[in-house]
């Protein structure tokens, strides 16, 4: 059997049972759409969680009795700690400037001497932004001389940890279930469209068609239907995501094209597999 013939048969097969094909393609599209939306939401969610975490800073307040040279020395040592990404040295003058910007002139001018301590502002690597890892970094800094206080919002980082863990678990659970159910739904839908053509398959066998001769067009039909469903899903995804990017720029920013395009091969694979399994089963039951 030529591939051309099989391909033509597959297209015709979709057309002949067009009612069912549409239902099946629609279901495939919706299943993949759910999965795709889930993927995009996940990508953005992790992006945002990352952003929030990236803003975690450790503020090391220095005692007034160490001078700039000692402070810069300390800065270099802190920079060498594993997990530290960037260290800014905020001397007393700069600290005062920041304070003025935040709370106005008056307050600070009232006191005779600048009461604000100098500090090192530490940004940590993304992978070190959990409460445990930060504690470790803090422990290494604490041992140094000339440190008045270390602030990083321990409670808050722990809360963030907890929330991140939960969001991750929730996301994985939902993702797994959505993924499995997409596979199941697409395969089942294809299965139903093929069960409905059981009689045709039987007649084909009676007229001397080999199993392969029957299977290949159905397989292609499944692949084409799945591809169409996937394409539909990815078109909807593409437009609605771009709409969301325009209207909710703060929470949608992750690159999406790959995830969107993924739906097409996914549809093809699921449609093909579903059809292959179903036709095999029907053929076996007829043998």
């Amino acid at each position: 059997m030529g591939l051309g013939y099989a391909f033509r048969e597959a297209i015709l097969g979709l057309y002949r049972a067009r009612g069912m094909s549409l239902v099946s393609i629609g279901t495939t599209a919706v299943s993949l759409l759910v999965f795709g939306i889930f993927l995009l939401v996940t990508l953005n969610l992790y992006g945002i969680v990352g952003q929030v975490r990236r803003r975690i800073e450790i503020e090391v307040y220095l005692s007034d009795d160490i001078d700039d040279k000692e402070a810069l020395d300390l800065k270099r040592k802190v920079e060498a700690i594993n997990g530290v990404k960037e260290v800014d040295y905020i001397d007393k003058e700069k600290a005062a400037d920041e304070f003025r910007q935040a709370f106005g002139e008056g307050l600070l001018e009232a006191v005779s001497q600048n009461p604000l301590p100098a500090s090192l502002r530490i940004k940590v690597e993304d992978t070190f932004s959990t409460s445990d890892k930060i504690k470790e970094i803090v422990k290494q800094i604490e041992k140094r001389r000339g440190i008045e206080e270390i602030e990083y919002g321990r409670q808050w980082v722990e809360r963030l940890d907890r929330l991140t863990l939960i969001v991750t678990v929730a996301d994985l659970v939902i993702g797994l279930v959505i993924g499995l159910s997409s596979i199941f739904v697409v395969a089942n839908t294809v299965n139903l469209t093929i069960l409905a053509r059981r009689e045709s398959i039987e007649i084909m066998k009676l007229v001397g068609a080999t199993d392969n001769f029957i299977q290949i067009p159905f397989l292609l039909e499944g692949i084409i239907g799945g591809t169409l469903g996937g394409a539909l899903a990815s078109a909807i995804l593409y437009f609605s995501y771009n709409w969301a990017v325009v209207h909710f720029p703060r929470i949608t920013f992750a690159p999406s094209n790959l995830a969107v395009a993924l739906m097409i091969p996914l549809g093809a694979i699921l449609g093909g597999l579903g059809s292959r399994i179903s036709v095999k089963r029907v053929l076996k039951s007829l043998a």
Binding site: S200, I203, T210, F213
Partner: protein, 215 residues
């Protein structure tokens, strides 16, 4: 060409065929007559290997039930033409496609497929309806499509199950002429019919079957 030796067929404890012995020579034209429910269709189905006998041994051409593997069955069926009592047309294809399908499974070239399918449809008088779907045809027309599909492959054995049941006198004799001609060209024909009159008027060997037994 065709041989059945002590063949029995039981379906769920009902004996449909019992101890059938049959020999049909190459190029013979044999009539299988018997009342409704006698087992004519079942016998033809066994010869087509749609079903395997419960007991006994069947040979059709070079294919023997004791040696035939499942994956050889399609090869066998391509060489045996069968006209089903209930036509068994593919409902979702037009009648040209229905006839052409029997050629496509053999891997016949496209141009040849088209020519032969149209030739055969012309022979049964339906070339002008080639684009019609089965459900747009009358009963007799559907029957003729089924006949065309059985003949299109130049089978070496033709199994015809009540092929004239839905045809009027003229169409019947046309189809009979067609079958005779094919038989003349060397095809072995086994035709099941309940029409005793028809059988009586034909110069062929008549095998009588009743209650699953050959008389």
């Amino acid at each position: 060409m065709i041989q059945m030796y002590r063949v029995s067929k039981k379906i769920h404890n009902t004996t449909v065929l019992e101890d059938v012995n049959l020999h049909v020579g190459k190029g013979e034209f044999v009539l299988l007559v018997g009342p409704s429910g006698a087992g004519k269709s079942t016998l033809l189905r066994l010869l087509h290997f749609d079903d395997r006998p419960t007991e006994g041994w069947i040979r059709v051409g070079e294919y023997s039930s004791s040696a035939l593997k499942d994956r050889q069955i399609p090869l066998l069926r391509r060489k045996i033409g069968i006209i089903f009592q209930d036509f068994k047309l593919l409902k979702d294809r037009n009648i040209f496609e229905n006839v052409a399908f029997a050629l496509r499974v053999t891997g016949t070239r496209k141009s040849l497929t088209k020519r032969k399918a149209l030739q055969t449809l012309t022979a049964v008088g339906l070339a002008h309806r080639r684009d019609a779907m089965p459900n747009q045809l009358s009963g007799g027309e559907q029957q003729r499509v089924s006949i065309a599909r059985a003949l299109v492959n130049d089978p070496f054995v033709l199994l015809a199950d009540e092929p004239l049941g839905d045809l009027d006198k003229e169409a019947s004799s046309n189809i009979l002429e067609l079958l005779k001609e094919i038989n003349h060209r060397g095809t072995t024909v086994v035709m099941a019919t309940h029409d005793e009159d028809l059988a009586a008027h034909m110069p062929y060997r008549c095998i009588r079957i009743e209650n699953g037994r050959i008389l």
